[in-house]
């Protein structure tokens, strides 16, 4: 099995530390090597492109140069980081003039030999569900969940080149492979307002409340995400009045289903404790 370069992104060093821990544990169990990019920088996430178009391309371009030197496809767990790097990759491949400017600024020649891959894509399509099924020691029977993608993993589709932005299927298929009861719902790619979580929290709260309500209507007891910004926003901005719904990373549920001992250390990092829900599961 091919090894990959790994770009954790800034959130996975801090507020999404349990995402990083679970990614590393699951890849170790699957015996797929992840090699962290040397001295990677912040991609600028949602702020750089609000301030300067050139900066929003140049920051990811430095990381693409590092990844190209390393010579492996680079896996990105954070949807925002993936989106920014994939946007820069798209410009490099399709706009010779901007590409020339970026190559000069960063000091490298873009070859296009290295792919920018979202984590869910590598897990579901490269490692594959059959191999994951074979690793399941403790099926998540009775765990009722909805898979949630958010925005930046799937939109804009001409850049992300991933799943159908209106009705993606891979996350629910992965969750079913783990033995969970993945419920169908129509909100898997509706925005949670994560970008406004700190600056306009009333709007973020409205969007999060709607998502949590719809997840409950679909019969779910938890939401499963693939994005650190969604996860934090969905935990922080659920209304205090109703019982709060736990928000998992899909890699955490993989680790749990694989029977990894390390999984026990991830739940205490959550702002909404998922342990009461997990204790109800028939083991």
């Amino acid at each position: 099995m091919t090894d990959y370069s790994y770009y954790p992104g800034c959130s996975l060093e801090a507020t999404a530390i349990e995402f990083n821990d679970s990614v590393l544990a699951v890849f170790e169990a699957l015996q797929v090597g992840l090699h962290e990019l040397d001295d990677w920088n912040c991609c600028g996430a949602s702020s750089a492109h609000s301030m300067s178009h050139a900066l929003s391309l140049a920051l990811p371009a430095r990381n693409l140069a590092i990844a190209q030197k390393a010579g492996r496809d680079v896996v990105m767990p954070c949807a925002a980081c993936f989106n920014r790097h994939k946007t820069t990759d798209h410009v490099m491949r399709n706009d010779p003039e901007q590409r020339a400017g970026l190559e000069k600024m960063i000091g490298f020649e873009f070859t296009g030999t290295v792919g920018v891959r979202p984590l869910l894509d590598v897990v579901g399509n490269e490692i594959g569900l059959e191999r994951i099924r074979a690793m399941v020691k403790r099926p998540l029977t009775g765990l009722k969940v909805v898979g949630y993608y958010g925005c930046l993993l799937v939109r804009p589709p001409e850049i992300t080149q991933f799943e159908n932005p209106d009705n993606p299927q891979l996350m629910n298929r992965l969750l079913e492979t783990l033995g969970a009861d993945a419920r169908p719902w129509s909100y898997a790619t509706d925005c949670c307002g994560g970008g406004l979580s700190l600056t306009k929290s009333s709007v973020a709260m409205k969007l999060v409340t709607r998502l949590a309500d719809r997840a409950r209507e679909a019969g779910a007891d938890a939401i499963v995400t693939s994005c650190p910004l969604c996860q934090l926003n969905l935990e922080m901005r659920q209304p205090k009045t109703s019982p709060k719904m736990p928000i998992f990373y899909f890699t955490e549920l993989m680790g749990l289903a694989f029977g990894l001992e390390k999984a026990g250390g991830w739940w205490s990092k959550h702002l909404i404790d998922p342990q009461p829900l997990l204790r109800q599961l028939p083991v």
Partner: protein
């Protein structure tokens, strides 16, 4: 006569052709924050077509756009409206326009200030600076200390070896305008 200078500027900055919009409202119908906006995405495009620069740069809408890309994905004329919102924010910041949503504008500036000097985001520094500026020290006090106690937010930043390179990228891009 209609002054098209502003429309041309936005088309260049966003790589879009705003004249293609025929106002089917599909963008606004699907926009998650339209109900909190003054205009909504399709009327923002209309105001660009009409050259209403001051109204747009002073509007809440350019800061409320969450950049979710739902509008651009659904537009029958393939206008990426989030790119238009980016261009409007970039012009507002470059020209020092007083933002209708000062918290949003400040957040972006503080965020990029941290990245400029450290090479990576350091959430404790960023949140500290943002909270001090906004004097909003009490909100989220239920979750912020919890995150520190859970060891989620390291107090010391990671300093990049290549932070000089990152700073040079900031300097070199500060004067670049998109030509195409």
């Amino acid at each position: 006569m209609l002054d098209t200078t502003f429309t041309t500027q936005i088309n260049l900055l966003s790589s879009q052709t705003i004249q293609l919009c025929y106002h089917c409202h599909k963008c606004t119908a699907g926009c998650p924050v339209a109900e909190d906006m003054e205009f909504g995405p399709d009327r923002v495009l209309r105001l660009v077509q009409l050259g209403e620069k001051e109204r747009l740069l002073a509007s809440h809408d350019i800061w409320l756009c969450a950049g979710c890309e739902t509008c651009g994905t659904r537009c029958p004329n393939e206008i990426d409206i989030a790119q238009v919102m980016d261009a409007l924010r970039q012009i507002a910041i470059a020209e020092g326009v007083r933002p209708a949503e000062p918290y949003a504008e400040k957040f972006h500036k503080v965020f990029m200030g941290v990245v400029r000097y450290m090479g990576r985001m350091h959430e404790a520094s960023m949140l500290g600076a943002y909270k001090l500026w906004s004097m909003d020290l009490l909100s989220d006090m239920d979750s912020a200390p919890v995150m520190l106690l859970k060891g989620k937010v390291p107090l010391l930043p990671h300093l990049l070896k290549g932070r000089g390179e990152v700073r040079r990228i900031f300097e070199e891009t500060s004067n670049v305008k998109r030509e195409t």
